[in-house]
Amino acid sequence: SQKIEQNSEALNIQEGKTATLTCNYTNYSPAYLQWYRQDPGRGPVFLLLIRENEKEKRKERLKVTFDTTLKQSLFHITASQPADSATYLCALDSGYAGTALIFGKGTTLSVSS
């Protein structure tokens, strides 16, 4: 069966540093990989999507890479701020319209000032 792992449950960094979160998967060939942010008591919010034929995607201070050979995606937040503190979830997307996502457990990021 498919397996998706986010290798750190928690990541603590100082303000201004770059946070790097890792997502690995097995037994699956997603067409897309999505990243969501989840704050306590709230539902996940979509951040970024990267397609299987893309190596890198950027949005403001966020950058996502996707290596289909390694079956890995890296999610970077540059110049991190305390407001970036949240849980970040990666999700596998088959690319077929209307299919459900397969989520990882998430990594909880804490940015201290």
């Binding site: 998706i4 449950e9 067409a31 897309y32 999505q34 008591g41 709230r42 539902g43 996940p44 919010v45 979509f46 999507l49 397609r51 979830l89 999700a91 997307d93 690319g95 077929y96 319209a97 209307g98 299919t99 459900a100 996502l101 989520f103 990882g104 457990k105 998430g106």
Partner: protein
């Protein structure tokens, strides 16, 4: 644009009781999902509807969980009877259905936190 609405936000029941959750998706979103999120885990799909038809309910414990989406808009998820292990956040999400090959950005509601005592 209004987001996905869910109610109630919190529910505490005793085991063997029944409970129901309600979801109103974003207007025009044909696909609706119910996820279960246990503390410390990622969301896990329970059931997926497209309009008022079930697309995937393979992970729904059908002996105790049921869901419906009458008229292809609102949806209700029911648990009867509840067990201790059903304590979790139940998230509803919706997405636009587009032609094959498009990504599926999902819009989530705030969730219902269920505690079973």
């Amino acid at each position: 644009e209004a987001g996905v609405a869910q109610s109630p936000r919190y529910k505490i029941i005793e085991k063997r009781q029944s409970v129901a959750f309600w979801c109103n998706p974003i207007s025009g979103h044909a696909t609706l999902y119910w996820y279960q999120q246990i503390l410390g885990q990622g969301p896990k799909l329970l059931i997926q509807f497209q309009n008022n038809g079930v697309v995937d309910d393979s992970q729904l414990p059908k002996d105790r969980f049921s869901a419906e989406r009458l008229k292809g808009v609102d949806s209700t998820l029911k648990i009867q009877p509840a067990k201790l292990e059903d304590s979790a956040v139940y998230l509803c999400a919706s997405s636009l259905v587009t032609s094959g090959g498009s990504y599926n950005e999902q819009f989530f509601g705030p969730g219902t936190r269920l505690t079973v005592l």
